[in-house]
Symmetry: C2
Subunit: 523 residues, 2 copies
């Protein structure tokens, strides 16, 4: 009998090729152990609420009211909800035709996209809608733009004139809301990749969303290595080496991904570094994909987050008008941590309108991103302001989360560095630690005998011994012969010391067991 | 200067090829007109809440409480929420580790998937977890299954024995929750399609999700035509003709789509018809994709909805154990109409475990479907029961919506049939009318001069004259030389007569204007 179309041997090879270690062998084993009654600490995925982080009160109040709009007519609503949450819910309901139960425009609700645009403008220090060193000239153009609305008869002509001159800094029409940043990345890569001849430069170690999506779309990943000894720094010589190697293989290298702050590596890129990256993309005709979902998760003061968009605009022409940039953000990270709501956005810079139209069309096929998460996005980029009833509570809650994460990043890095044969760069940002585990030859041999990659072997033993569910470094990519693991810094702060003790006890016993006079794996 | 990677000429050709008329030229023009201040009646997409349908109270109460769990500790909560909504919210929060803000398992929350499985079993009349003519034998196996849990030492061995014999009717492990049924269809087709040599049989007229997704994935659509003169019936001779034609072109025809009730065509398939389809899939080694998102939207009593799964199980072996079937459902349709929440599921039947694992892996790449919509799915398949506090209200609200839709289906079909040169089959189910508009040669020539497909020309004129935004038949596919349009039956019932009058006035004037002694387009 011939195989059926959904039998394993018949299905799409690209589906089989895609690997996603964050929910791979380790996660599946952890789920099994949990079913058997073992207590598991899931540090495999950046999922703060699953580890006890409480949702912020104000955004949840607003969304609950949007879900139950009939409460707004109830005389008792003021007993359960503050006035500013009620006002905000009414405002969102006034801009969604049909409330949360109606498809929005496939790009997202226009009013929320405007809130995002304004957030980007505030964040990056550019005035609304206008960006240029010649501000008087552009201010005039801006007035023309306002005047245009009155003169609808000549609006099409004026439109063309304005668009010819003005450089919008952040335009809601170029911001699309999505069901989470992962979906945004997948849609962007789908637009770029035609087939296996197309190369995408990705940092190694990388978040496996990239390798998995590139495999799924039948493209080719071109790795560039981050420098562990320089706190996972990004070196332009390495970029040049990487693209040369990609082209030597006959690839048409089309795009470059940066993850800032880094996942799994936790580093924050400097403005200088970003300038070099943008210059490189300009010189080599690459689209830059800026994964900036951890932009609020910063745990040191030396290198605050700076967006690729801002650096690009600061550089000015010709780069600011030429480099194609797609930036990603999410409601799942930061202090909101609303992973389960699935909300994200991407912003397009220097992408021609015909391509924007194509991206809109593809977004239309699945009708619209989920609407409640669009509201969360609005609330994230446009939170309560000083003077609002809910401001103090919002500020206290969000500050509390970020400060605790900062302390946890420190406890974790220090904990790893106190372990035998483990070294770990400080988690400057994002939500992860990525320690290197230096394995003795005896351990490598034991892993080989068990038919496992060495870091998978180590992580499985760790899981069985302690219930800590991590992701082996091989799931993110690493240089040959060195081994890592990724863990989130998300377990509750009060549990953190016990978790690190438990890790240390396991690790040091493991190293004792496989002690070997021949040294250990390292760079 | 060479084109950049996101310039139009560089991007993925499959992205350009995909067409999605539901939000195509007509929709874009309607949006423009709306911006200019014209009142638009958006009947282009099945989006009930956008046209004034109120959300059901109970599901919204439960989800609002899940979004704002702190309300559950508030002594005043009982003033705004009934006790059964409070209890249900607590129950959902108890099965989501971390509430709505945490990623769920990539397949959806296990407890909700169990609710879906139980719904399918109730709907299709098979007992929970067990399905076989030899029920005593299988009941014994079921007891073994329970006993197995105690004997964890031998569980792996027993697992294998049980899985060898038992045929689960609906198994939560084979039900995956998704961000809407569209995403479920896209993921399934992505698993099946390797390249342009792969053919997917799709009814014509079809919902363009199918043509767009197949184009996006680089596969080939193999059309089979529904018979308009037989109320859009599905004829197996046509299926054989279609597959023969596909194979003659060298295609590997792998799957067949049915949409039941039909979109855009509104017909309901009989059990006999479904048996023929399943036999055809068995004979020709095709996966059947059963798009059943309109299963609650039935407006006649002669042909109630019957699922492909039930018919397959009723047929019995060998078909019931061999035919690969994927069925789709959604929270966006029925009486819930929660489009903006983006919730759906797919159920896999006779798909081997290795393929199920691959589908799970791909689902993991985007982490999890949005969690609030998973709760809506739970509430849809497991609504309040007689005796519950909220039962009467839930029953009244949902019955009111369905009865009104039934009346609107009738008003609309009758309205179309009263127009000059328009004929329309009765909308037996789903949410659409799909009238044939017989255009005189003069109108065809005018369309040609305007550079438009004839039905696009007609629909644009309709839009400009009346504000009614429809989708031209060419967006769904139709036989050469005949023309249709699709409209939803969703405008508010009280507005329906005025809308149909406005349509009739436009149409009859249009036909007057292009009157032609040479007759009109028709089959």
């Amino acid at each position: 009998m011939p195989p059926k179309p959904l039998d394993y041997e018949s299905i799409n090879e690209n589906v089989k090729k895609a690997q996603y270690a964050v929910r791979g062998e380790l996660y599946l084993r952890a789920t099994e152990l949990q079913k058997e009654g073992k207590k598991i600490i899931f540090t495999n995925v950046g999922n703060p609420h699953a580890l006890g982080q409480k949702p912020l009160t104000f955004p949840r109040q607003v969304v609950a009211l949007c879900q139950a709009p009939f409460l707004l007519d109830d005389p008792n609503v003021g007993l359960l909800f503050p006035a500013d949450a009620i006002a905000r819910a009414k405002q969102y309901l006034s801009i969604t035709s049909g409330g949360l139960g109606a498809y929005s425009d496939s790009r997202g609700i226009p009013g929320v996209r405007k809130e995002v645009a304004e957030f980007i403008q505030r964040r990056d220090g550019y005035p609304r809608y206008i960006s240029s060193p010649y501000s008087l000239f552009f201010l005039t153009l801006h007035c023309v733009n306002l005047f245009k609305r009155v003169l609808s008869l000549v609006s099409n002509l004026l439109d063309k004139v304005i668009n010819y001159f003005i450089l919008y800094f952040s335009d809601p029409e170029l911001i699309y809301l999505t069901d989470g940043a992962s979906k945004a990345v997948m849609q962007t890569l789908n637009t770029i990749i035609k087939g296996e001849g197309d190369g995408i430069m990705v940092p190694v170690p990388q978040y496996p969303l990239y390798s998995a999506t590139i495999a799924l779309l039948g493209g080719t990943l071109v790795p560039y290595y981050l420098e562990e000894t320089a706190n996972w720094g990004l070196d332009t010589n390495e970029l040049r080496k990487s693209i040369t190697e990609g082209r030597r293989k006959g690839l048409n290298v089309k795009a470059m991904v940066i993850i800032n702050p880094g996942n799994p590596t936790g580093q924050c890129l400097s403005a200088e570094n970003l300038r070099e990256v943008l210059q490189f993309c300009y010189d080599e005709n690459l689209v830059l994909l800026g994964d900036e979902v951890y932009q609020t998760n910063i745990y040191q003061d030396e290198r605050p987050f700076i967006s690729s968009k801002k650096v690009l605009m600061d550089i000015g022409p010709p780069l600011s008008k030429e480099v194609q940039l797609v930036s990603f953000h999410s409601v799942s990270k930061g202090f909101l941590g609303e992973c389960g709501q699935r909300g994200g956005y991407f912003e397009m810079t220097n992408i021609p309108p015909e391509t924007v139209d194509e991206i809109y069309k593809v977004a239309s096929i699945s009708l619209s991103p989920n609407v409640p998460a669009q509201i969360f996005m609005g609330l994230m980029v446009n939170p309560p302001k000083p003077g609002d009833i809910s401001y103090d509570q919002f500020f206290r809650e969000s500050k509390g989360i970020l400060e605790s994460l900062r302390r946890r990043a420190r406890i974790m890095t220090d904990g790893f560095n106190s372990c035998r044969n483990v070294v770990c760069n400080f988690t400057e940002g994002a939500m992860y630690s990525f320690p290197q585990v230096r394995l003795p030859p005896k351990a490598l041999e034991a892993a080989k005998q068990a038919g496992k990659v060495a870091d998978v072997f180590y992580c499985l033993k760790l899981l069985e011994a302690t219930g800590i569910s991590t992701v082996p470094g091989s799931g993110f990519g690493q240089k040959d012969g060195v081994f890592h693991l990724r863990t989130t810094i998300l377990p509750a702060e009060e549990e953190m010391p016990a978790i690190m003790d438990s890790f240390k006890k396991f690790n040091d016993e493991f190293m004792e067991q496989y002690e070997d006079h021949r040294g250990y794996s390292r760079l």
